[in-house]
């Protein structure tokens, strides 16, 4: 029997998902829906994907026992080091996979949206590798707050288009990417998270699943058991969490914790904690939980972290929230910044601001002695230095 965590034939996880797209995108989405599973499961794809992950990306990423962090919180804490991937985050797992799918479908032009710029960099990187034309849509506000990634994308040969509508962040970059896609249906939309119309959420989750696939054998080696007690990951759209949870979804004894960005506080009016503030609705072609007003107008979110500054969440996560399979927690800007400094000082690892939100819930959890916890360390913090330094000086 098919797992309840796999989408049905119309791309639904429970009541969430689907493909709410203008007619013009129907052929593109259908082409992908008809082919993606077959392509991903083919030996040819698997060989090339695994080979690139190993030699180009640098996988497997280490599962590191963070001794001082463990001691501080009274648990056995492992860090899944996605920050050590080429380009500095988990995003590249997905872009390597999707560029191979694009190639298989005969596409030569790629578009992508980006928030923190990590997905934009990862897309520009694989486009350089595969000699494809790359256009990245990025909110005007994010272009300013993630300048180092903008420079990297440019050096990699990508064209950057500023999204100037709405809140000028990830939501608007995604709107502009979809509008461009409507006008250029020959392009491949290399989406960066487990969002968008079906089959994108499932496709991205399958490509990020390598994270939990490795966690299983790495934990077995280190602890004798494949399953930890708890997995913690941050959630904007939810791609790193989807990857870290994927192979554990059916193992109900593994506690899954998704951490959203609370911004200045969940109830402050300046937040991106979608599960706490959202209701069922449609965003970017998918029925999910989203932040909206009483008339269905999408509310502009806020977080210090560009990668989590999104008013929706992928449909799989909406389903995990509703079905209570995952526990949803949140962390404010300040809690995330403090957590980033803590990890830096006691483990020598500067995490991305997004990742810092996952670390920030450690003080809020009452751990049992010997509880085995894996935190998905989704990205490194080089891109966030300006914000970190400003915080230190303040």
């Amino acid at each position: 029997m098919k797992s309840k965590f796999q989408p049905d034939e119309n791309g639904y996880f429970g009541q969430f998902g689907g493909a709410f797209i203008p007619e013009l995108l129907h052929p593109n989405v259908k082409e992908l829906a008809d082919n993606y599973i077959q392509i991903i499961e083919s030996e040819e794809f698997q060989t090339e994907y695994k080979s690139l992950l190993k030699d180009f990306v640098g996988r497997p990423t280490p599962l590191y026992l963070a001794k001082r962090l463990s001691k501080k919180y009274g648990a056995t804490i492992y860090l899944k080091r996605e920050d050590l991937n080429h380009t500095g985050a988990h995003k590249v797992n997905n872009t390597v996979g999707q560029i191979l799918i694009a190639k298989k479908l005969g596409k030569t032009k790629v578009i992508a949206e980006t928030g923190a710029g990590q997905h934009g960099v990862a897309t520009a990187t694989v486009c350089a590798l595969m000699n494809m034309e790359c256009t990245v849509f990025m909110g005007e506000k994010d272009i300013v707050r993630q300048a180092p990634n903008v420079a990297r994308m440019k050096m990699l040969g990508a064209k950057i288009v500023a999204a100037t509508s709405g809140s000028k962040t990830l939501k608007d970059a995604t709107n502009e990417a979809i509008r461009y896609w409507i006008q250029h249906p020959e392009t491949f939309y290399l989406i960066g998270s487990v969002v968008g119309p079906a089959p994108h959420p499932d496709m991205v989750a399958r490509l990020q699943a390598i994270i939990s696939e490795e966690m299983k054998w790495q934990l077995k080696e280190k602890t004798g058991k494949e399953n930890p007690d708890t997995i913690i990951a941050c959630v904007g759209g939810g791609s790193n969490a989807a990857g870290a949870f994927y192979h554990y979804l059916e193992d109900e004894d593994v506690e899954l914790i998704a951490v959203e960005a609370a911004g200045l506080g969940v109830k402050s009016g300046e937040s991106a904690a979608t599960s706490q503030l959202g209701e069922v609705g449609i965003i970017h072609g998918s029925k999910t939980i989203l932040m909206q007003d009483e008339y269905g107008q999408i509310v502009e979110p806020y977080s210090i972290s560009a990668g989590l500054d999104y008013p929706g969440v992928g449909p799989l996560h909406a389903f995990l929230y509703e079905s209570k399979r995952a526990k949803f927690m949140n962390a404010t800007d300040k809690e995330a910044l403090d957590a980033a400094y803590e990890l830096t000082k006691i483990e020598g690892i500067i995490p991305a601001l997004e990742t810092a939100h996952a670390l920030a819930v450690l003080p809020k959890i009452d751990f049992k002695k010997d509880q085995v916890v894996v935190i998905n360390l989704s990205g490194r913090g080089d891109k966030d230095l300006e914000i970190y330094i400003k915080y230190l000086e303040a």
Partner: protein
Amino acid sequence: MNSIQELFQKKDKNLLSIYFTSGYPKLDDTARIIQKLSKSTVDFIEVGLPYSDPLADGPTIQDSSQKALENGINLDVIFQQLMPLKETNKTPLVLMGYLNQLLKYGEEKFCQKVVDCGIDTLIIPDLPMVEFENHYQELFDNYGLTNVFLITPHTSEDRIRKIDSYSKAFIYVVASASITGAKGAISNNQISYFERIKSMNLKSRLIVGFGISDKSTFNTACNYANGAIIGSAFIKDLGINGVDRIDDFIQPIIS
């Protein structure tokens, strides 16, 4: 019978439809704009329901929607503005909005309000056919409402035939691979697409939209379809010349 279908019985060539964003340029302009368009003998009117994230719309309609939302427009205000027109307005109205608006407002409540306003036709660009078949067809039928489907240069023949069978008002022929507000003359590629659709001998009437902006593009579209819709070009003009000069925009197109 559907109000647009009824209209086709009286006239089925060179129909001009105008799209406008409710609540723009001013919150209370909705009724006046409809009255002016009626007086200028526009055949039917699309009332846009402003949305924060209109994926199928270009900058002009995005901006007017944003402005309208800032003016304080919402579905309750729109229904209040449309309700009194039920008795006096003789030009058929069509509502155009995004599915999330309907979902959040409450699907049944939305449909009832639409019916109360004497409107029977909806255009929801992000409502895909499969969702229509699985749920909305029955809902809309219960309220006597009709959904207008869009077809594009990339819609397959099978799919067009299916859309034809579901269409009770008209088929919205999207003129090119584009969002609203496309510019310029109609290309040879577009002509051959229009010819292809025309030669399919569909039962539904065809109305062309997206990229129709003036007399020339309107006339070209009308050679292959029953009429055409002008949206962004009208909104732009409204922004510059205001509600009082609406007839100056319409007359050159229909004369």
